[in-house]
């Protein structure tokens, strides 16, 4: 019962490793290093890396920037709330407000084109969970996060809030339309 008794050998740290342990430690260490380099490799060669471009912002500032985009590029409105559907040109800055309890406005983007998507919250923490793609990004109030996105498939995407934000949390769903050529764009 020696794990619950003091080691019988006073110089226990001088004991040689067993081969099982030594081999396993070496294998596990190599695997950990592979996982470490995989993240760096993906930053160089992978296409899905989360941007870290972030600015301190205020609710007023972010709301006014979003409003300016809505005023300029609204193509129609949807739902009883008359949520604007905004179709900014490829390559431009697009904004999405997260607030209790909706994402505003609806975006309409072109497949295969790149946009700078700005995310911020007007109140609590929210979650940007793009479905069915399953891309999940935290939205923190007071911070404007700029994520460069390139949609690769046409269709209707939902943005589900997946950070608990109060009693109406489950009604907080936004939308992004991806238009253009059907199917995957390489």
């Amino acid at each position: 019962m020696s794990a619950i008794l003091p080691p019988t050998e006073r110089l226990w740290w001088k004991h040689p490793l067993d081969r099982v342990e030594g081999t396993w430690i070496a294998i596990a260490f190599v695997w950990c290093m592979i996982m470490f380099f995989m993240m760096i490799y993906w930053h160089i060669y992978g296409k899905q890396n989360l941007s870290t471009e972030t600015y301190k912002t205020t609710t007023e500032l972010f709301a006014s920037k979003t409003q300016a985009m809505v005023d300029k590029y609204t193509v129609r409105t949807e739902t009883d709330l008359e949520t604007p559907v905004v179709a900014p040109p490829p390559g431009s800055d697009v904004y999405m407000i997260a607030r209790l309890w909706n994402f505003w406005p609806i975006l309409e983007l072109q497949n295969g084109q790149t946009y700078r998507l700005h995310l911020s919250s007007m109140d609590y923490n929210h979650g940007f969970s793009l479905q069915p793609a399953n891309i999940n990004i935290q939205i923190v109030p007071g911070y404007e996060h700029v994520v460069t996105v390139t949609p690769n498939q046409t269709g209707t995407y939902s943005v589900v809030c997946n950070e608990f934000c109060g009693i109406g949390h489950h009604t907080m769903v936004g939308r992004i339309y991806i238009k253009g050529e059907t199917g995957n764009v390489p």
Binding site: Q138, Y143, S158, F164, H169
Partner: protein, 566 residues
């Protein structure tokens, strides 16, 4: 200085309990079990609401129940039980009196007051902020104050533990180094001090904010520091339950650690690296640089992962070596086949080791990989992961330890040994399934902490695929089975404490009997050069590695099909 106390030697185990320490271990363990009971009752509400066809509670009740479930299980049940383990690993294993028993009782009182205050705040409504209580969503002041008082109590408990180590050293109740299990407990206590300090740094200002004494707590800084508390507290659990694994291997098999150096070194890696892994909760957040994320999650976390992989090999390996020494030498796995599967202390620990590694460990590394985190963050995959680490890993280990402690500490026979034999299987295996289907639903994107996957009342509802509904239904079924397993544990523990047949105690003395000095066994490592001492365990480890590697690259493949992000 004289200390009036008595020492009881348990007739079954030979362990020696000092009377104050014994009462403190008992009080803290029982308080823990009471919170497990409350948390378990709350779990019924959580599970039956997330089971889509039942969808039982109203939204407000659901979030309230979920908040209380998280706190009672992750914080109160586990930390009360851990304080009991700390006192046990110091006073009992080192055969000395506990330092400052009055202070230890005061710490216990603070923890009780804090945990009750926090629970009351949640049940009053207005504090349904989840365990994480991210600002600027605010709870009642008593919510934070309760947590702070509890944390102060736990911190004092840690210092009583450290003090008891000093008593043992000074009164020479043991010679040489502390036992490995005590060493693991020291690791847990050191991480606990760091954890509680981080909690204080962020919860005290948040409490002041709730009192309107200060105006602002930055939401991002809150998240960064809160997770230094929130994640590290799980590392206390890891260090504690791995100590229990070693403990059970020692008492059930008489297993000797394969190498003290390796096992202790692995515990040290936890202290040095594990708490920094808290960064992996912020991988999908704005504001933190890529370098910071990669450094913290890889360089630092992977050394902690390495430590867990080492323990995952050395504990079953020590069992294998002990079994082979008894003659179970046939083939690769006779030692495992002939293990005491009817002993709930062993079966609980073994189910815990396998589940912690395969389900909790592998999924944890996926989430802790910077880019892969984006396909997992805040989905129900996350609770799938941490039920595998905390429930299968920690809670099941604590249950296994309890079956050992009932005759030894409670001085009672287990009331229904037949039921106890089955309890770890029912609880552990249904939790395996529960975690797997939760991770399945999370892979399809289903959100955690979400009342209604049908989005009733939403202007732009999203339709989850049928498979997601199926998975969540299975979560419900598996959850109910696990809750039944938990209820049996509570029944056996409380029932044995109240009605179990008393075990006569004869050996009580007023002086501690020091641990006899063991004779060095020179032959410990002679098999090492001939080949693998634990080939069966090594094969199991290779199976684990293969599963790990395969699943890791499957996730990268999945990530590569998504929208371009840069």
């Amino acid at each position: 200085m004289s200390h009036k106390t008595t020492y009881r030697t348990c007739p079954r185990s030979g362990l020696q309990f000092e009377s104050q320490a014994e009462k403190l271990v008992l009080a803290n363990a029982v308080a823990g079990v009471i919170f497990l009971l409350i948390g378990g009752i709350l779990a019924i509400g959580v599970v039956l609401t997330r089971w889509p066809t039942i969808h039982w509670l109203e939204a407000s009740t659901f979030y309230q129940v979920l908040t209380a479930h998280g706190l009672d299980m992750l914080v109160f049940w586990i930390i009360f039980f851990e304080i009991a383990i700390l006192y046990f690993c110091s006073s009992t294993l080192l055969r000395c009196r506990i330092a400052t028993p009055k202070v230890a009782w005061a710490a216990f009182a603070l923890m009780v007051i804090g945990s009750v205050m926090n629970n009351v705040a949640v049940y009053q409504g207005g504090s349904s902020v989840m365990m994480t209580s991210y600002v600027p969503m605010m709870a009642a002041p008593s919510f934070y104050l309760g947590l702070i008082l509890f944390a102060v109590g736990a911190l004092i408990g840690c210092f009583v533990f450290f003090g008891t180590l000093v008593v043992a050293k000074r009164e020479k109740t043991y010679q040489g180094s502390v036992p490995l299990v005590t060493f693991g407990a020291i690791t847990a206590a050191i991480i606990a001090v760091f954890t509680i300090a981080s909690g204080a740094i962020i919860l005290i200002p948040t409490w002041m904010l709730s009192m309107n004494w200060i105006e602002h707590v930055d939401p991002l800084i809150y998240r960064v520091i809160w997770w230094a508390f929130g994640h590290s507290s799980q590392q206390i659990n890891v260090a504690a339950h791995i100590s229990i694994w070693y403990f059970v291997a020692a008492v059930v098999f008489g297993a000797k650690p394969m190498s003290e150096r390796v096992s202790r070194g692995a515990f040290l890696l936890y202290i040095v690296f594990l708490q920094l892994a808290s960064a992996h909760h912020i991988l999908s957040d704005p504001g933190m640089s890529t370098e910071w994320k990669v450094l913290n999650t890889s360089y630092f976390m992977y050394f902690a992962v390495l430590a867990s992989m080492i323990h995952g090999l050395t504990i079953p390996g020590a069992m294998e070596v002990a079994q082979r020494a008894k003659g179970y030498n046939k083939g690769l796995f006779e030692w495992l086949r002939k293990a005491p599967w009817g002993n709930p202390s062993f079966s609980g620990v073994f189910i815990s080791i396998i589940g912690f590694g395969f389900l909790g460990g592998i999924s944890g590394v996926m989430m802790g990989t910077e880019q892969l985190n984006m396909i997992i963050h805040n989905t129900i995959y996350v609770p799938g992961h941490f039920h595998a680490t905390v429930v299968v890993g920690t809670t099941l280990s604590f249950m296994a330890l309890t079956y050992f402690l009932i005759p030894v500490l409670f001085k009672r026979d287990i009331i229904n040994p037949g039921l106890a034999k089955w309890q770890p299987y029912l609880f552990g295996l249904s939790m395996y399934f529960f975690c797997l289907v939760m991770m399945g639903a999370g892979t399809l994107g289903v959100s955690r902490r979400h009342w209604d996957m049908a989005f009733s009342g939403a202007a732009l509802a999203y339709e989850w695929p049928g498979a997601a509904y199926l998975m969540m239904g299975l979560v419900g079924i598996a959850g109910i089975a696990a809750i039944a397993g938990g209820a049996i544990y509570i029944y056996l523990t409380v029932g044995s404490l109240l009605w179990g047949k008393r075990i006569a105690q004869t050996k009580i003395s007023s002086e501690p009997t020091p641990i006899p000095v063991g004779a060095p066994s020179a032959a410990v490592q002679t098999y090492g050069s001939l080949g693998f001492a634990a080939p069966g365990t090594f094969v199991l480890a290779m199976v684990f590695l293969a599963a790990f590697v395969l699943y890791y690259f499957i996730n990268w493949k999945y990530l590569s099909t998504l929208w371009g992000l840069s």
